[in-house]
Symmetry: C2
Subunit: 382 residues, 2 copies
Amino acid sequence: MDAPLSFETRATDGDARMGRLVTPHGEIATPCFMPVGTGAAVKAMAPDELWGMGYRLVLANAYHLAVRPGPELVHQMGGIARFMGFPGAILTDSGGFQAMSLAKINSIDESGICFRSHLDGQRLVFTPESAIEIQEQLGADIMMSLDECTAYPADAARARSSLELTARWAERSLKARRSAAQALFGIVQGGVYPELRKLSAGQITALGFDGFAVGGLAVGEPKAQMREMAALSAGLLPADKPRYLMGVGTPQDIVAAVAMGYDMFDCVLPTRNARNGSAFTSEGRISIKHARYARDGSPLDPGCDCRACRTFSRGYLRHLYMAGEILAARALTEHNLHFYSRLMRDAQAAISSGTYDAFARGMMAAGPDWEEGPDKATNNVA
Amino acid sequence: MDAPLSFETRATDGDARMGRLVTPHGEIATPCFMPVGTGAAVKAMAPDELWGMGYRLVLANAYHLAVRPGPELVHQMGGIARFMGFPGAILTDSGGFQAMSLAKINSIDESGICFRSHLDGQRLVFTPESAIEIQEQLGADIMMSLDECTAYPADAARARSSLELTARWAERSLKARRSAAQALFGIVQGGVYPELRKLSAGQITALGFDGFAVGGLAVGEPKAQMREMAALSAGLLPADKPRYLMGVGTPQDIVAAVAMGYDMFDCVLPTRNARNGSAFTSEGRISIKHARYARDGSPLDPGCDCRACRTFSRGYLRHLYMAGEILAARALTEHNLHFYSRLMRDAQAAISSGTYDAFARGMMAAGPDWEEGPDKATNNVA
């Protein structure tokens, strides 16, 4: 079949690359960040707002959509992008990560993951084949193969059996695929063990995927270890296919990972933090609930031109947050997603002009408190 | 002092009138509906969205703002319109209604209303003088004098003592006023007793207010009685000042009240109902949670051009509502406020062209189930 996805690199700067993905629902400039639209909506945002901020690719969670409203319904309604009213492309994860983190698992065995829905206790099974079927019904432009996301900590034996299972599931995923219009990515596992990362990358890249993801990071391991594994794994992936670092991360994590050669990112940080009153700004992280902002007439981020920063003062945003107003979640989410969108555009421009190193150093220095915690990478929570 | 508000009638059709209010923060075409921005935000909406729908005047609740964030803070932040980022005008109620309905009242006596905040139990007093001071600090374009909103049911003796107290408070409100840039409206009470409505209207209109409101309706009395009292009261108010029917109401209530000669309305129905999943449409009321909409690909209202109707299907909106997504509240609120905005524009056009009767008959026939209940007017809840 014709390739459902094309990827080209237009410029490189060191290992960093700037390029574009072409999907049936449009082109995406890379490196790109995908806002997380868990249940067919990026929380608090309208699709035209995402589009207006420059987002052309949104992530949705197959697990959440399988549980509610169900893939058949989404299929009947024209597929996930149309269902959401989003004029761009959609990537769905396989559902495995949430099935393991949110649901009550009955068992994981060779066949798949058997669990009970976190909503109503309904018994469900994700197999490599059903995960593909669900994502094909959802109509995702990019699908992910079912993997076993190795928990942290896991000893080497556990990490190895997990990546071997993931490789067998990867082969089954490719065989199960029916749709020629939907791309499918494989996922590299291997925990925090360099040899196992190499083993997994060798197994997964030997298969005919349209792109490759690195999983099992940002699940609680030390930040330095996360970056070491990410850097190692990037170099093991073919240069002509898109590279996706799953669930990462903070602005600094992303800046560092772009330098390693990653092209795609997703993370709940900008949206989840926003709903908790936390904003990413050019001056660092701001917790809007702090009393010091009560009478602050300046915008969240003086250097930002998003709607929230053009319209609202910190004092007003704090009031909205304290009063539990929906507009607080809206304004902070819009600001944070605008921040991430600009970060990616700036990264693309820096790669084009061969100044990525200077850009990265500037970003690392700008916002030391963008980091989630001193030493933990735990962004990867849906 | 110069009049802080001017009002002119540009066309009449029977008792209905089309005109404009001019405030320090711009002009408002009448008859107009004011969205309720309880705590300095119309729930789920951004100010540019309200503006884009044609709203030029928003109501805010002095009670809520007095309790949080406090009138001094709003004053320091440039006044309520600037605080909210709303480029139009703001009317504040006096706070009396919420002090009586939400707070724990310690006492109402000649001096004012003594109560405890519903948020933190803080003891507060609203006097006619403090209610003016609060509203002047908030920087409202239109302020309301403190009244005792007569509860339903109330016997004639109770209703009479209540309206007499309201009249004495009205005089004190006018004396307390300091700002020349802020209009002040008086409020007619009198329960469901025609003679008492006449008595109250005579007392209040004898005072030098910039406009007149009819209060104490839509608080639980039978719908027919509400409309009878509203019609009677409208005829007792001077023709050259704006007439405001407080807390009313359903689309039919408003259509009927415009025919009586009212110019201004407010109600929580479009916003509160939206958050409960209920939409006003040209085909009647829709409760989006109903299973019949799960796979419905049509917009909420095929005759509507609001963003929600241009973007989302009923099936998607139902999914958002069932999943508790903020976007459900946003989309339904935007739709309902768009519906009310168009209703007012259509009413203005019908008055201009001398076709209000036909318009009103059409609206009455179009949406029988817009009504809240068969026989109760209870919209007036903050």
